[in-house]
């Protein structure tokens, strides 16, 4: 067995709640970390996983307190260690990669300053030696031009670049243990795959032990050997990834796995009922109030039972749970794609283009404009969902804003139900505004914090149907019920709701306007998987009842697969592939779609050999020709640079914009994805 690095023993950490009480967020955690271990910690937000991650460095945020237990590094107990000794261990022996690199890098210091600091403090490197080491680290982080990156400030970097800088800072101290707190959350799939490959390489080559905290089971499944599933401050299941994900024995692990949408299945995932509550009574099972297997004896907290050397579970009824037949997917399939000729589309975008004005200091010159959406043609039929996918910066959200009339500079046409809409929402008539509703990613920003739910739901009814508060109430009540929220919610304010509940209120508000089309802009991206499944379920239910057309904008291809009938892939403001979801997801043709799909992680299957893992994903989009050519592995030197690729028609209305004939693209796909379906 490898050398033991860190031992966590019966650790409990709490935060003050009220005057006297301390509420535990971490309760009795045991963990041993050895050299070269790859450990994952998974759970919903608020389960205490970040607190545990920081506690591994002997750190407790704000006014939290260690209630009992210990964290030992070698022979030293980190809690209560002398400050200078603790400083010597942090960053040098145990390093931390934060969740949100954008906020965690000091805004006033350059990249090289921030890396050099660690080199100076922990490795005594200064001057020329430090500069060389910084360059080496940045090269290792796959930056094409390390000296240029080193001189930049954090705000001059993209999200993926910032995260790699945070990793470079952590590695600068040459640690033995690396703690990563949600390192890929908020990144595009391609960037995520690249970062995970990098971390994997490091732990393989240098025997670096890694602890990876994530809410994403697929990320854990791809990069860890062992996983701790946490719920409300307790470890509910602990063991080898291969065992736990194949045969989950805790009801919570099971629920989490069922809630993940699967890219190979066009079915809705199953939501986990209830929501995470803070631990109130530590004498009973933490999962009691959400558990479908609960029995009277669950009032006594179960111990962590070692089932096999590879798996331990905290449940009295693990045998029943393990034997339960897998009820993984919602039995109802999505309605099929309507035949193209069956009915006229309710939303039609024709040659839509939008630009952003760019500030320049040369005020005597005309303002430069950057095209963000170019010649987009798209249509959605009643009762159907069209998904718009792409990386951040591809222009997805701009399309949403243009349809909503919030981004006036526009060429091309938007028609809803055969009627042309004005580019500016202020110029649209009330019925036209009613026809198009928008749901945003962040309900905190889109729900008025001073309005109760009743007031929020009353507004669209007053504006569009002239209802009084009394007239609106039964409608609001009915709609809340469909959202699976009871009447009590009417009197609540947004801050009294959880993230998933807020998003359901936002959905209810959109449907109360009885629109023809709803544009959903990344509406489930900020939610936990279990909550995400519940939100998707109500969305699809409502769509079935009202026959609403949805334009669903998302970067998550598995979610898209679960709810969309058609998919359009957007790159640099252009649609590069478009067609029925089934066809685009199983037989992608455009190299960009293939790259996106190859980067999607799944719990079940190993990671694909990434077509793009060596290229820096952040690259300027070239003008003219094919915008994707710099990242394309099969670009044709002259033709792709000079000529705009033609749109090729494949079967079933599947279109692809590429110079290569379908046969070549087909062979390339086999090469990358090894699809054996």
């Amino acid at each position: 067995m490898n050398e033991l690095l860190l031992t966590v023993c019966d650790l409990a950490i709490g935060y003050p709640h009220g005057a006297q009480q301390i509420r535990p967020v971490l309760n009795g955690v045991h963990l041993q970390i050895r050299r070269g271990d790859r450990i994952g910690i998974v759970g919903e937000s608020g389960c205490g996983k970040s607190t545990l991650a920081q506690a591994l460095l002997g750190f407790v945020r704000d006014n939290g307190v260690r209630m009992r237990g210990s964290v030992n590094y070698g022979s030293e107990e980190l809690f209560g260690l002398a400050p200078d000794r603790l400083q010597a261990i942090r960053g040098a022996d145990i390093a931390f990669v934060p969740q949100n690199a954008g906020q965690s890098l000091a805004p006033h210091r350059t990249v090289s300053d921030q890396i050099a600091e660690v080199l100076t403090i922990h490795r005594g490197m200064t001057g020329h030696v430090a500069v060389q080491r910084i360059n080496a680290l940045l090269t290792q982080m796959r930056f094409a031009n390390p000296t240029q990156i080193a001189s930049r400030y954090p705000h001059q970097l993209s999200g993926g670049q910032q995260q790699r800088i945070a990793l470079a800072i952590a590695l600068a101290g040459e640690p033995k243990l690396l703690v990563l707190d949600e390192p890929t959350t908020g990144l595009d799939v391609t960037t995520q795959a690249q970062l995970l490959a990098l971390i994997h390489e490091l732990s393989r080559d240098t025997q670096l032990a890694t602890v990876l905290v994530s809410h994403d089971l697929a990320v854990i499944a791809q990069s860890c050997q062992r996983v701790l599933v946490m719920y409300a401050g307790s470890v509910v299941e602990d063991g080898e990834v291969s065992h736990i994900f194949r045969q989950p024995s805790h009801p919570y692990t099971r629920g989490l796995l069922a809630a993940i949408p699967d890219i190979t299945q066009a079915r809705l995932p199953v939501p986990l009922p209830g929501q995470l509550r803070h631990m109130v009574d530590s004498t009973q099972c933490v999962f009691l109030d959400r558990c479908q297997f609960a029995q009277p004896d669950c009032a006594v907290a179960p111990p962590l039972i070692q089932l096999t050397p590879q798996q331990a579970v905290r449940c009295h009824h693990w045998q029943t749970v393990t034997q339960q037949v897998d009820r993984k997917y919602d039995t109802t399939l999505l309605p099929p794609v309507a035949a193209a000729s069956a009915q006229a589309p309710v939303l039609q975008l024709t040659a839509l283009s939008a630009t952003y004005a760019r500030p320049t200091w040369q005020w005597w010159r005309p303002t430069k404009t950057i095209p963000v959406v170019q010649q987009v043609d798209l249509h959605v039929q009643a009762g159907q969902t069209c998904a718009l996918v792409g990386e951040s910066g591809s222009g997805k959200s701009t399309v949403a804003r243009v349809i909503a009339g919030l981004h006036p500079p526009l060429h091309g046409d938007i028609t809803v139900d055969g009627m042309r809409l004005h580019a500016d929402v202020a110029q649209r008539s009330a019925p036209q505004r009613q026809q198009v509703q928008l749901i945003f990613q962040n309900p905190d920003g889109s729900l008025n914090p001073r309005h109760t739910v009743a007031e929020i739901l009353y507004r669209p009814q007053a504006v569009f149907f002239g209802r009084t508060r009394a007239q609106a109430l039964p409608h609001s009540r009915d709609m809340l019920q469909k959202m699976r929220l009871d009447d009590q919610y009417l009197e609540r304010l947004p801050r009294q709701l959880s993230g998933g509940e807020k998003q359901r209120v936002a959905i209810a508000r959109a449907f109360l306007a009885d629109p023809t089309v709803i544009v959903c802009d990344e509406i489930v991206s900020a939610l936990d998987v279990s909550v995400q499944a519940a939100v998707l379920q109500v969305l699809v239910d409502m769509q079935r009842i009202h026959g609403t057309a949805l334009l669903f904008i998302s970067h998550d291809l598995a979610v898209v697969r679960a709810i969309a009938q058609t998919v359009a892939v957007l790159f640099a403001g252009q649609i590069c592939e478009h067609g029925p979801a089934e066809s685009v997801m199983t037989t992608p043709h455009h190299p960009y779609t293939i790259m996106l799909l190859s980067a999607v992680l799944s719990v079940a299957k190993p990671m694909h050999s990434m077509a793009a893992s060596t290229a820096d994903p952040v690259q300027a989009v070239p003008a003219g020709g094919c915008p994707f050519r710099h990242r394309c592995a099969i670009a044709i030197a002259q033709r792709c640079a000079d000529q705009i690729p033609p749109v090729q028609q494949l079967a079933n209305g599947h279109q692809v914009r590429c110079h290569h004939p379908p046969a070549v693209l087909h062979a390339y796909r086999q090469d990358i994805l090894h699809l054996d379906m």
């Binding site: 931390f96 906020q103 101290g173």
Partner: protein
């Protein structure tokens, strides 16, 4: 960046132009006759006529405004009415020198003191030092300058009798002679100024200490001392530069009261005597100079913030452009 500065300079010119118009209008186009306003209701008709002629009141106000402003820009600030044969410019410049040294002294002592106390109070939040500093700064903020000034005068000038309570030196005395008389006015200004800036810095420090990058610095093993100097102090001071600028600019207003209390020969006292003497050309000149200084200090603070904040300094330099 260039455009920003050019735009700012243009804004300054327009602002000053408008301010000048308002000052001129307020003193000249007020209801009633300027000559009567200067001399009072019971003035002899002969003297009124003389004043009218001296101020050329028979000409239209707009014409006189342009002439006044044009002269001002060229350095001809006019003649004082209350002080015969006294040109305004040398008078104002001499007093301005005194006020300048007074404000500079107050700023040089007050700003660093406020920074040190504010940072200490923020770092030791809710401990005895923080409570003490907070209570004292609240007192300093709530007491008007003339109360603080009078108290200081009473303690140091009368009871202890170690410092001159009021200034008895001439306005044109060399700086070394003026210095003893400057101590108590400076102290008064410092107390009020420190209270404002300190509270701002304290809350800024508390914000920054809870930021993720300070937390990250702890997790990188950066020693506490370096965290304070490299992370907390620079980023906590940035948002307060504008507040410091405003407070320093406020000194011009505060100085009027303090100078009057201590009989200090600066522009503040000149202003009060000009108003009571109804010396309109002098009031106009002082008003314009005051506005100019106020605007300039704020511009300096703005530009300093712009220059010291990397995100603002490089705002036209976008990511993803040259990699």
């Amino acid at each position: 960046m260039m455009w920003d500065i050019v735009r700012r300079v243009l804004t300054i010119c327009v602002t000053l132009f408008v301010v000048a118009a308002i000052i001129f209008a307020a003193t000249e186009v007020l209801p009633g006759d300027v000559a009567t306003a200067i001399l009072g209701r019971e003035a002899a008709p002969k003297r009124l006529a003389a004043i009218r002629q001296q101020l050329q009141l028979d000409r239209p106000a707009s014409e006189r405004y342009w002439q006044w402003l044009g002269g001002f820009v060229q350095g001809d600030w006019g003649q004082s009415l209350a002080r015969p044969d006294q040109a305004i410019r040398p008078l104002v410049l001499e007093r301005l020198r005194n006020t300048f040294w007074l404000s500079l002294l107050a700023t040089c002592i007050g700003v660093p003191l406020a920074i040190i106390l504010g940072v200490l109070a923020g770092l030791r939040r809710n401990q005895w030092l923080d409570s003490l500093v907070s209570v004292i700064s609240l007192i300093g903020m709530s007491l008007p300058e003339f109360v603080i000034g009078s108290l200081l005068m009473l303690v140091f000038g009368v009871m202890l009798a170690i410092l001159p309570a009021v200034t008895i030196v001439q306005a044109d005395a060399p700086l070394t002679k003026l210095l003893p008389s400057m101590i108590l006015p400076t102290l008064t200004l410092v107390i009020v100024m420190v209270a404002y800036i300190l509270r701002m810095i304290r809350s800024s420090v508390i914000d920054i200490m809870q930021s993720e990058y300070v937390q990250m610095a702890y997790l990188k093993g950066v020693p506490q001392r370096l965290i304070i100097w490299r992370y907390i102090v620079p980023t906590a001071l940035l948002p307060t530069i504008n507040a410091v600028g405003l407070t320093v600019a406020w000194l011009i207003g505060g100085v009027v009261v303090v100078e009057t209390v201590f009989n200090f020969p600066g522009i503040g006292r000149l202003m009060t005597s000009a108003v009571s003497d109804r010396d309109l050309p002098l009031v106009q000149a002082l008003g314009l100079i005051g506005a100019f200084i106020y605007i300039m200090i704020n511009v300096v603070a703005d530009v300093a913030t712009l220059w010291l904040t990397p995100r603002l300094r490089t705002q036209f330099w976008r990511p993803n452009e040259e990699t």
